[in-house]
Symmetry: C2
Subunit: 324 residues, 2 copies
């Protein structure tokens, strides 16, 4: 069994060994640029951790770990273009640094490259591994489309929101874990349990992200807090406030979310005031704790020594207890 | 053995049985719209024809045939956005009918959907089939990038052009044939031969397309002839004329290809005059005949009865002898 640090080192080692180069350079430069930004690389880490938990040969899962991170970064590359986000991880995004067509085509190539990585290592479970990867990939597109649809709707429900973040965020964590387990030839009940662990962690992770946007600092969150409010994004906080609020509070919230003032300071303050009146922060914290708890139950159901589960518990704690 | 008509009917039958629907509708509607336009569906036809030539069970190759056409249409969808082409097969393209983000995301989903089709049928050659499909997919991205690069260069050579069209067009014909052969468990020498047959046909097909743009009619070509000249596209005709022309003719051609007049009639006439002076049309016809001849040699090398090769010969003839 590897420790969390050892697993992290493996991820770093595997990525450092890859070049992401090819011809023509104009196609591959944006791919190498995107993957060089690093990021948390949480998905390959989960994949290797699950593989190790079930006693797999971690080298067999090596290229799947690279493939899943390549796929994740492809979705970010195209999302940044669709959302017109100029900066990611402190650097200009691909469509800004190069141009729109480069972002489209290099993204397409990254999607295909992710697959090629998965095909590098023959394995008796490869068919099921690829099916899991493909289903997950499609679900992420579905989640992104729901997210785009929600921007134009003012009647989004909390269950709809939870389903959207399940597709857009949680399934790739669940998929990474399941794929790691499949490389280790884990029992079906265990691959299901580790997948559900990932779904619960993923949902809680996104709720934590919504909270941090409202209550984090630039240092702890890495982004300017209040951006969701400024951009009128219907996060869990907004939806819960709409649900709990009085007619007057609902009207006030909807009115605030129909504006985009040049200086959003006052707007952010007013929205946070309503959230405070309704105790929204505490409610979302409770939801996160429940999801975290469900995730731990998923882990409990797996018949492996408690000590072997430590890396996954540590990753969950890191993701869900990010400081505000 | 099936006749060409029977193979065509199979392609139609298989496509008519697919719905291409899913949720959210906004993601899948553009996919169904694109695939409902039909087109020649030459790639699934080649895939099934190769499968049948080598005695395969054609039903096993069914979803690969749908997958390869889905992939091809994904590339058209994204290419139309990158090239800002408003019309395809007489209908508005996806980014025009919907919007740019829809074209990006639905295209991504189509790329993934193509893969999902390939995963539907387990097969002992599936790993090699997927590797062939993936390599082909990546090569098409490379070809598209070279094509985009060439627009900004004025020193493109004929070998570079041939390599670009090999990647952008020919490999998907070769790949379709090879995949059909792999489903039939053909011998490696045969899968190579049928792949090369596809490459030669694909190269000749693109040269025929270049010729038709200059010498076809709206009826036979389906597009307004002279578009490549109007758009200053460096086709094989232009590159051969540059190569063969006197310094004065070269200068004249380059000058003409630096203009974009509102009414291109005169420009098209002047360019065609230079092509006529240099006998370019005949030269390209000769290249097509050579490639066609090479393709027939590839087919000859395959140890199957001559009569069984008829459907592939007929497809090649149809593609390469399109009327001017």
């Amino acid at each position: 069994m590897l420790t969390l640090n050892q697993l992290s080192d493996k991820v770093t080692e595997y990525f450092n060994a890859e070049q992401f180069t090819g011809n023509p350079q104009q196609l591959f430069d944006p791919i190498a640029y995107t993957l060089a930004q690093g990021g948390k690389r949480i998905r390959p880490l989960l994949l290797l951790a699950a593989n190790d938990l079930f006693g797999g040969d971690i080298e067999q899962a090596r290229y799947a770990a690279i493939g899943i991170e390549t796929f994740h970064n492809f979705t970010l590359l195209h999302d940044d273009l669709m959302d017109k986000s100029p900066v990611r991880r402190g650097k200009p995004t691909v469509y800004v640094k190069w141009d729109q067509n480069t972002a489209i085509l290099s993204g397409d190539a990254m999607n295909i490259l992710a697959f090629q990585y998965f095909l590098k290592t023959p394995h008796r479970n490869l068919h099921e591994i690829l099916q899991t990867f493909q289903q997950t990939s499609m679900e992420i597109c579905q989640g992104q489309q729901y997210d785009m649809n929600f921007e134009k709707r003012d009647d989004v429900t909390i269950p709809e929101y939870m389903e959207m973040i399940r597709l857009k965020t949680a399934v790739l964590l669940g998929g990474a874990l399941k794929i790691g387990a499949l490389y280790a030839e884990a029992a079906p009940s265990d691959t299901d349990a580790i997948y559900n662990f990932g779904i619960n962690i993923g949902l809680a992770f996104q709720l934590r992200d919504d909270l941090l946007d409202a209550y984090g600092t630039l240092e702890t969150f890495g982004k300017q807090p209040g951006t969701d409010i400024k951009d009128n994004k219907k996060t869990i906080l907004f939806l819960k406030a709409l649900q709990k609020g009085s007619p007057a509070q609902r009207q006030q919230l909807n009115a605030l979310f129909a504006t985009t003032p040049d200086d959003p300071t006052q707007k952010i303050k007013q929205v946070l005031d309503i959230y405070a009146q309704l105790d929204i922060r505490k409610e979302v914290e409770t939801s996160i704790a429940e999801l975290h708890n469900n995730a731990m139950k998923n882990l409990d159901s797996i018949a492996r020594p408690e000590s072997d589960k430590q890396p996954l518990q540590q990753i969950a704690n890191k993701l869900l207890n990010r400081l505000i």
